[in-house]
Symmetry: C2
Subunit: 631 residues, 2 copies
């Protein structure tokens, strides 16, 4: 409950003190009221005017105004604050004589909207902070008297503040209609300005990537437009909304969530090289490895090379001296062995990695080699073939074979598997899911969408609307080829022809240019899809589908799975996959097999669709890409 | 839409055929109707009698009955089927003469409840199947005529069946009141009886662990009581319910879900040895490693040893012959080097692992050593210090230092972090979460709870009730010691004394015996909790808490985090942690620090609380424990 204590009270007895304003219900687990529950009300908080609240947040901007009037018991209504650039203030302010130290200025990089006005040099002044607590994209204006903060409490951008006050109407409202008139500052968490990496409140997306731990606090500037600002928090809130909607979608339809494993012994080359998980390598968490490296390099290879040179000389001598043939051949054998040894040692030292053969995985934690799962699909199948409709939402892992740093090594996926279904069923399910996700964002993340739509890409909301407005186009791979073959006004870098995968450029043409909405391409040639996809009766195509979305490309991959045991065994043989790894998978066909189908949706692509972000590294909190795994 | 075709039609013209029964709405993405939507209705499906449905599922048991009556247009109402043991049937049945092959019998391991009755030797017979589709714990009785299935379709336990039929009332209802009279079998997925590992429909929990891919289909027998059966599916449905409720709990309270990373470069020894993630070891997905091992072993160490023996002899000769001293010392040097080399090679071959020094992590995928995250906590903090209330639900990883196989290496956790909170706030939040999870199970997973409560442990529902019935006990660590010190009737294996962690036995005493409900222990000695927990004003204790639950022990660990920069830096130094790894973490205190607190809840412990399962390996679909990572 909010305290009745006020800082402006000077102890004078007022015969008829007004009753304290009723407090706003705080968050359940904190004394603070989330800004969302003030600013995101239909009335933008107007109905709460006069109520006492405690709010906490981080300062996004700061302005100040001279205050020559003596402070009245209730602060006077005021016009919107005048903007003061920090530089001006720093240059002009003289030290305070009041016992409480003055509040220093924030470092504001953006240009002030109005000409700067200097506060009176010796009077108290009023500080206008815009704070954000991450509960929504809106900031609350917090008004306080310069006398309120404690010595050393320098309120700059990035500072945290916890304050109690009364909500009041802004006299000249623009976007916001209420502000907080602070009665008491409960806590200030200062910023070490000289080391704070985000001294400018507005920083480019690219620079922000160096500070993933501070990134969510910041207002970012998009790469393309230096004036376009948005809160990184919006991206996280949008992603959070997608996760919840995903769970809700499946839960309401009776799907069962299954914890598919991250660590797997399956490594069938389906997904290229996989991340290996081991406890064999390091026992020394966090210790510097360089000492160990030097120790190993200490094997005196050069001494052996010198010995070989000597041995060679000696053999030459032996040959010239035409001496004992046995001694010569023994020396030659010895030399040969030494050369082999040195060669081997050189090889080992050059080798950046021990070959798999050097590790005895029977001593590893799981007594075998294990990997990070590249897909929950196979494991989900085993549960679908028992519980019918199952799904999972979690991370999968891929090593990007190309050197491109654009693919995430750790991605979050929504994966589902449905028994007693065929291709069309699961295409319907995937389409419904994509539409539900977009619809839910439009319904419940409106402010964040407006924020990114204004500031990252104008088309965001339009694109979401187009996704939910009607059915996706559905064409077979053959029909896709026909469309691509009829394109006259551009030529694709990759050849359009049966048996080739569609290139990103071709996919983009279909979704962005031809249909201008998501398109489902299905019935692919057998060769371009994995072994587990059901072979069609024609023997050439398989029951796979992709949902290709405008801007982001393939967002969903799915298929009807091959339920016929003889066919799956043949496919595994054809592709040279290790049969023994798939015995359990074949079991699902050997015993009580049913038709079943599934798909996986790339959550990061949904985030990029919704936000318009161009780089996936800005769409996830801690991106893991080749060469980078910060924190 | 269900087809009007029926298999029993014999083409006779019926002048006033009754209109076809209205079909039950199928699942949205399948032609089948989930059994849940028939059997879990308040009327147990009675209101659907006469309706046509398609159902799919796997056979849990099979019985049959002789049918001497000619089949009528509508099958006659029948009493509960008589049980027939497969063995009896196999021994007694003679081959059919009807054009359609007879349905062979299932292999039923359990004793029939009634004496077996043989169907007529040459007539058609009626088959009673109990099928389950995983949507709920209930089975549907499916009644079909032996003439319906195709040649080779042997319907045994584990067989999948997809059938269309009409729901009818069971004349002598017990647990169930409706059954399906089959009109048409749409699909049968047979079982290869000789290789099916679950030939008995009822199998022990321990045996089931060998078949994680088939386990969810099975009816298990608990270890303690050979007559106690339950569907493994119940455990998965209960876990799924927990996951959804967890998301719902936080979503409704405005928490933001954050994708904390699985792959992390943080390895500070907080969590003991961590799993390392690398692409340096294997390039050959799925290939047999034994070839590589042999190749390496092919380095002919024995030849080198022989050479050393020869060299030694030669040196002896040289010494005896008292010849050229230079030649002798050269030979001696050569011998010494050879010995060193062989020693080194031996060492390498013995070594099960290359030391970390042998790997150049600059060539690894992330250009540095990375690990599987043992906790989302630190990363969540960085988002809480920007977005206030955040959470994540996902896997964390631990290598169990003890050889015990009882700890999961891959666990699912619910982790939350709240800014502007102190210890009591987050204790409230964690308690509410635990109660919400239990309450939701009681509300929505009633049938599954009844199932496990009858069949795994009687106390399950009682325990859940006791958890939701009131506040948890809250005691400080000191108070816990006082309670433990006053125990007279038993002696603990571990010493009770300040500065010792509470042993599992002591924790169990507090929750199971003393309070008989969950107890929150807080304010632990500084020494037994991690560096990031806030140091109390007394300097001896820290603001940590554990929720200890009956039966499962510590279910939640939480704490108020140290928000004071000077203190956290000192703690990191005191504990000898690598400062450079924590620079980002210290940044959160250096810039805009706020009081914040968090906790993590072990989902598997919740599953064990709810199900009464004794072994965590039965509580998760694909358990990963030391030495085992199946599939």
């Amino acid at each position: 409950m909010a305290s009745r204590e006020t800082t402006v009270s000077d102890g004078s007895n007022q015969p008829e003190a007004p009753p304290p304003p009723p407090a706003v219900e705080p968050s359940k687990y904190s004394k603070t009221t989330a800004l969302k529950s003030i600013l995101n009300r239909d009335d933008k908080g107007l109905g709460l005017v006069g109520r006492r609240v405690v709010v906490g947040g981080w300062v996004n901007s700061r302005k100040e105004r001279a205050e020559s009037d003596a402070p009245s018991q209730l602060p006077p209504p005021r016009a919107a604050a005048q903007d003061v650039s920090c530089y001006d203030v720093l240059m002009q302010r003289v030290p305070f004589l009041r016992p409480i130290a003055r509040i220093l200025v924030g470092v504001i990089g953006a240009q002030p909207e109005k000409p700067a006005a200097s506060p009176a040099k010796d009077g108290p002044f009023t500080v206008y902070l815009r704070i954000n607590d991450g509960s929504c994209s809106s900031n609350l204006q917090v008004v306080l008297d310069s006398s309120m903060s404690l010595p050393g409490q320098v309120i700059t951008v990035g500072t945290s503040i916890l304050a109690q006050g009364v909500l009041q109407k802004i006299l000249a409202p623009k976007k916001h209609v209420v502000e907080l008139m602070v009665e008491k500052i409960l806590h200030v968490g200062v910023v070490d300005v000289k080391s704070y990496p985000l001294t400018k409140p507005r920083i480019s997306l690219v620079s922000l990537r160096d500070h993933p731990h501070l990134r969510p606090r910041s207002i970012a500037v998009t790469q393309s437009n230096s004036l376009a600002l948005f809160q990184i928090g919006s991206v996280t809130r949008i992603c959070s909304n997608l996760i919840y909607t995903g769970h809700e979608f499946f839960h309401k339809k009776g799907f069962i969530h299954v914890h598919t494993p991250i660590i797997t012994s399956m490594n069938a080359g389906n997904h290229g090289k996989m991340f290996q998980v081991t406890t064999l390598l390091s026992n020394s968490g966090g210790k510097d490895k360089s000492a160990a490296v030097h120790e190993h390099e200490g094997v005196d290879l050069e001494a052996f090379r010198a010995a070989i040179r000597e041995k060679s000389k000696r053999i030459d001598e032996l040959r010239r001296s035409d001496s004992n043939k046995e001694a010569l051949s023994a020396a030659e054998l010895d030399l040969q062995r030494s050369k082999e040894l040195v060669l081997m040692l050189e090889k080992q030292q050059q080798s950046t990695a021990p070959s798999a053969g050097e590790l005895d995985f029977s001593n590893d934690f799981f007594s075998r080699p294990v990997y990070l799962s590249a897909s929950a699909g196979l494991h989900l199948e085993s549960y679908a073939c028992a519980l019918s409709s199952v799904y999972t939402i979690g991370p999968v892992f891929q090593t990007d074979e190309s050197k491109s740093a654009e693919k995430l090594a750790e991605m979050w996926m929504i994966e589902a598997e449905l028994a007693f279904t065929e291709l069309q069923d699961v295409m319907n399910c995937a389409e419904d899911l994509v539409q539900s996700l977009c619809y839910s964002l439009m319904e419940t993340a409106g402010n964040d969408l407006k924020c990114v739509s204004k500031q990252i890409e104008k088309n965001c909301i339009k694109r979401l609307k187009s996704i939910v407005s009607g059915s996706f186009a559905r064409i077979t791979y053959s029909e896709a080829l026909n469309i691509l073959n009829q394109v006259k006004d551009k030529s694709f870098l990759s050849k359009v022809g049966w048996g080739n995968t569609l290139s990103e450029e071709q996919e983009s043409y279909l979704a962005d240019e031809f249909y201008k909405r998501p398109v489902i391409v299905y019935e692919y040639p057998k060769e371009v899809k994995p072994f587990y996809v059901r072979v069609s009766d024609n023997g050439r195509t398989v029951s796979a589908f992709d949902i290709i979305a405008p801007k982001v490309g393939v967002m969903v991959r799915g298929s009807q799975k091959e339920e016929r045991m003889d066919v799956i065994v043949k496919r595994i043989q054809e592709l040279g996959l290790p049969h023994e790894q798939y015995e359990w998978y074949i079991d699902l066909r050997k015993h009580g097999s049913v038709k079943h189908s599934g798909f996986s949706l790339d959550i990061e692509k949904m985030v990029m669709t919704a936000t318009g972000l161009a780089d996936v590294k800005d769409a996830v909190p801690f991106p893991r890409v080749r060469g980078h795994a910060k924190l």
